[in-house]
């Protein structure tokens, strides 16, 4: 390119246009983050903060169920960072050699979501007996957590539906089809205009840990490490906490 001054000029003009006056020396980089669906709101916000602090960096997210993401990563999807909603799915990535030494960056606990005003007066798990309630299927992390909580309370409770993810569990409540739903605190808080969250002691037995890792095959290894570190920073943790997560 240097050999042809006219072309070089054109290239610079183009770069100027696309970079909108940014430093010519700095390259545009896109960081790809695979994150659990429950992180959608908070990670989007953190991503914007990270972009603001690192000029020329664009963070792209792929939000989906942790198991879907784990499968995509082990099948070789080009991701830089993986943030899972549970340890089991992270473990899959580790076993496949895609990740080493993940770190826990957030905790999430179950709550009983009830319609605003708590019309049935739910105070704990035992009150769910006799109510129509929705819970996650055991195959997904929130379902595993639910079962653990039931076991801890030595309760035999059967929901009317085992939902495939926490969002659809909550949706059954917001659509008025059930009286209560066992969801994560973060989800209840996100929907606080419509639902109230009832905390219950057994949920302490079923705390969900969120691990994050810079992937081994990350196309942008340095940036991936930087993002992972940023998630553990105070700024990012504040965002997570506002969303209902607890600090590890």
């Amino acid at each position: 390119m240097r050999a042809k001054p006219i072309l070089a000029t054109a290239a610079i003009a183009l770069a100027t246009l696309t970079a909108c006056g940014g430093d010519d020396a700095e390259e545009e980089v896109t960081l790809t983050v695979f994150a659990a669906a429950s992180l959608t709101e908070s990670f989007t916000e953190i991503g914007e903060l990270f972009e603001a602090e690192n000029e020329g960096v664009t963070v792209e997210f792929n939000f989906a169920g942790s198991s879907d993401l784990a499968a995509q990563i082990t099948e070789g999807a080009p991701a830089d960072v993986f943030a899972s909603a549970d340890e089991a799915n992270m473990e899959k990535a580790v076993e496949a050699g895609a990740a080493v030494d993940p770190e826990t960056f957030a905790l999430n606990q179950l709550v009983i979501a009830v319609p605003e005003g708590n019309p049935d007066g739910v105070t704990g798990l035992a009150d769910l007996a006799g109510l129509d309630f929705a819970a996650c299927a055991e195959e997904v992390p929130c379902g595993t957590a639910t079962q653990t909580a039931f076991d801890a309370g030595e309760l035999e409770l059967t929901p009317v539906t085992f939902e495939p993810d926490v969002k659809s569990t909550l949706q059954k409540l917001t659509l008025g089809e059930v009286d209560a739903a066992l969801v994560y605190r973060t989800d209840a808080i996100a929907a606080q205009d419509e639902v109230d969250a009832v905390e219950f002691p057994e949920s302490a037995e079923a705390v969900n840990t969120y691990p994050i890792v810079a992937l081994e095959e990350a196309p942008n290894a340095d940036l991936a490490a930087a993002f992972t570190a940023y998630i553990l920073s105070e700024d990012a943790q504040a965002v997570l906490e506002a969303a209902g997560f607890q600090q590890p």
Binding site: S67, A71, P159, V160, T161, E163, P164, Q171, L175, E177
Partner: protein, 267 residues
Amino acid sequence: MPAQRTRRRRRVPAALLAPAVLGLAFLILPLAGLLIRAPWAELPARLAEPEMLAALRLSLVTATSATALSLFFGVPIAWLLARGDFPGRSLLRALVTVPLVLPPVVGGVALLLVFGRSGLIGAWLHERFDVTIPFTTTAVVLAMTFVSMPFLIVSVEGSLRGADARFEEAAATLGAGRWTVFTHVTLPMIAPGVLAGAVLCWARALGEFGATITFAGNFPGRTQTMPLAVYLALQTDLEAAIVLSLLLLAVSVVVLASLRDRWTAAP
């Protein structure tokens, strides 16, 4: 004379053959991918799981019920669209295909808004008869019917439009009333179209996921159909999901192939 019925082998033009072969590869390769990844050794154990059999049975029962419902309501709708003469017919035709365009999950939400516990009709049913539809097998059938009936209607309507209405006139001159004309002439003549529509409808119902999980939820033995079981298995165990999918595929292929032989053997 019989001689004119003999079929001659015709050569397929290359311009058709090439895209046909490519298209077939595109359709069949993913299936091959599943077959290759399938853990064949685990298969017998998987098939013996009671939950899986329950899901398979529920799928077959509900998909067949949905097809029966679709036939019962869909054929008259198709007749109305093809032969009826009333204002707003083209609008109605467009509305009938709405479930085809609507994302199934949205379809499920829409069904909840009507038949749900606090839905338009559901609230009344709940108060008046203490009947709730969501999270029941009925809900599964309704969700399947909602998404699959348009396939039947479109197919049957096409057949009706293609059918020569003069045969119906001929039947009338022979003393057949309108209902007899329909049952003895129209219906037999469009039978291949009805069958094709029913097959499409059944297949779509069998694979139904989005509207079912939204409207009927997921409860083993009651509302957990095969696609739901497959989806949940996918969360923990890819290979189990593949086994389940293959089982669903095998059953549907066997059913459809045997139907085809029985019903479309005529010239």
